[in-house]
């Protein structure tokens, strides 16, 4: 298993280490529920150094990336990022990712840890066939880059303490807390320069910080120290999963895979069918016109029950009840106190309010299709 630069920090903090995507990562430090609630109420700090980073620079960088990603990259001015997907020729998802425009001809892709090799292989393959490939450079900088995510309503109060001066690149703000959602800028930390974006995977306000691998430990330590007075806790992959499930964000390998299209996953907003061609475009256009064969829905259990889990069978109700498939994701929701999950169902079962049953250890438990997101911040 690979280890991030923060491995020693995880050990010191009592992190319980598990294997994830080939990496040895903390699933929790104290308790998944405590860490989850800390993010919702104050702040949590996540090591995301296992994620992959790819740089594309040059006059043809935009054209190349726009020809392999689903979202319209031309919408990005320097200092902005967008959620996007990469599809194969059948419209199946190779990965979901964030694409940032760092400068006029400089792009950064943040990709899933479990898909880094596949993504880089695909991008290199696509680059071979790109007529203007001499006008851009593609670099896999994953091993040289570390990253952390700091998420929660209190984060804006202390993130500024970890960086000095105003932005030296990207969106020209005086401090990280002046970044708007999806904006990114470069700041000086104690030992290096870091890209700070106002993005996250938890449904809370927060930031993600990418820096040279040798500088990420210092950034982690500074954030931990600055955030302590505000209730910041280190948080592991367990809380990361419960948080993203509550707001119905997909996880590759669960809601997304190479046999599933972004439209089936309900991500049509991030697919631009008229920006020009990209792999899978024709199939996605066809799905948009004719409808999709399966739809991703969010579910809640009706009564207190054992937690739903990925892989648990899902059934329709009534006399001609049939097995619809399996849960893509499932957990106890620490914020809601009920079981939640996501699953693909035939379109006729996708309406909010549709009763379904989750099979838990041979028993069918009542559930209902719920609107997304399952959890919304109280007004």
């Amino acid at each position: 298993m690979k280890r991030t630069p923060l491995f020693a920090a995880h050990q010191r903090l009592g992190g319980r280490l598990i294997e994830f995507g080939g990496w040895e990562m903390p699933v929790q430090y104290t308790s998944i529920i405590d860490e989850h609630l800390a993010v919702r109420r104050a702040a949590g700090l996540f090591d995301i150094s296992h994620m992959g980073e790819v740089q594309a620079t040059g006059p043809a960088a935009e054209a190349f990336l726009n020809g392999v990603l689903t979202n319209d990259l031309r919408k990005l001015t320097p200092g902005h990022g967008q959620y996007t997907l990469m599809c194969n020729e059948r419209g199946g998802v190779i990965d979901d990712l964030y694409a940032y425009r760092l400068g006029l001809e400089e792009y950064l892709l943040i990709i899933n840890a479990s898909r880094t090799a596949e993504d880089v292989g695909w991008l290199e393959q696509q680059l071979e066939r790109f007529p203007r490939r001499g006008e851009l450079q593609l670099q896999n900088v994953s091993d040289a880059t570390g990253a952390v995510a700091v998420q929660g309503p209190a984060v804006a109060e202390f993130i500024g303490q970890c960086f000095s001066g105003s932005a030296i690149a990207g969106t020209p703000v005086a401090s990280p807390r002046d970044l708007k959602k999806n904006q990114i800028a470069k700041f000086r930390s104690a030992t290096a320069e870091a890209w700070v974006s106002r993005t996250g995977y938890t449904g809370e306000d927060g930031f993600e910080v990418a820096a040279p691998a040798e500088a990420i430990v210092g950034i982690w330590d500074n954030l931990l120290a600055a955030g302590q007075a505000h209730g910041l806790k280190p948080a592991g992959l367990g809380a990361r999963d419960t948080l993203r499930t509550e707001v119905c964000y997909p996880l590759y390998g669960h809601e997304l895979d190479e046999q599933t299209s972004p439209l089936q996953a309900g991500l049509g907003f991030f697919v631009s069918l008229d920006k020009g061609d990209f792999p899978g475009r024709a199939i996605l256009a066809d799905q948009k016109a004719r409808g999709v064969a399966k739809k991703l829905v969010a579910l809640k259990t009706v009564d207190k029950s054992a937690p739903p889990r990925p892989g648990y069978p899902l059934w329709s109700t009534g006399a001609d009840s049939r097995r619809l498939g399996e849960l893509a994701s499932g957990t106890l929701s620490p914020s809601l106190g009920v079981g939640i999950g996501m699953a693909y169902v035939p379109p006729e079962f996708a309406a909010a309010g549709t009763p379904l049953e989750i099979e838990i250890r041979g028993k069918r438990i009542a559930a209902v299709v719920a609107p997304k997101p399952l959890y919304r911040k109280p007004a």
Partner: protein
């Protein structure tokens, strides 16, 4: 270091037994609750069910895992602890007290004698 009370017997699968007369009270150990962390759900056997030693009879779930509980001894279930159904966190906070799972009228009390002593269990968990 896990708490391993001296007046109990233990199964290799991390259940404890408190015996009084022919009735055994059964739960999971401090070591087990610590490994699970937040217990969020418990499924208990039905009162009246007859169990054999080693039979899977209950389930304890945390956010990330569902674990079977194996009856350390055989007998008839006489009582189950509704308190941990209503408040699963008791299994974490008081595993040997209010976090008990079920009581058994022992079919063969000698089965309890054959379980691990506190010293043997402590050795098993490396404490």
């Amino acid at each position: 270091m896990a708490n391993v009370p001296a007046d109990l017997k233990y199964a290799k699968s991390h259940e404890w037994v408190r015996q009084a007369g022919g009735v055994a009270t059964i739960g999971i150990t401090d070591h087990a609750q610590h490994e699970l962390t937040d217990v969020v759900f418990v499924e208990l056997p039905q009162v009246g069910r007859r169990l054999k030693a080693g039979e899977a009879c209950a389930v304890v779930e945390s956010v990330k895992t569902a674990s079977d509980i194996y009856s350390p001894a055989g007998g008839e279930v006489t009582e189950v602890n509704q308190a941990i159904v209503d408040n699963p966190a008791l299994v974490n906070t008081d595993p040997y007290g209010s976090g008990w799972f079920y009581k058994l009228r022992l079919a063969t009390p000698a089965e309890v004698d054959a379980l691990l002593s506190p010293e043997q269990y402590r050795a098993q968990i490396g404490g």
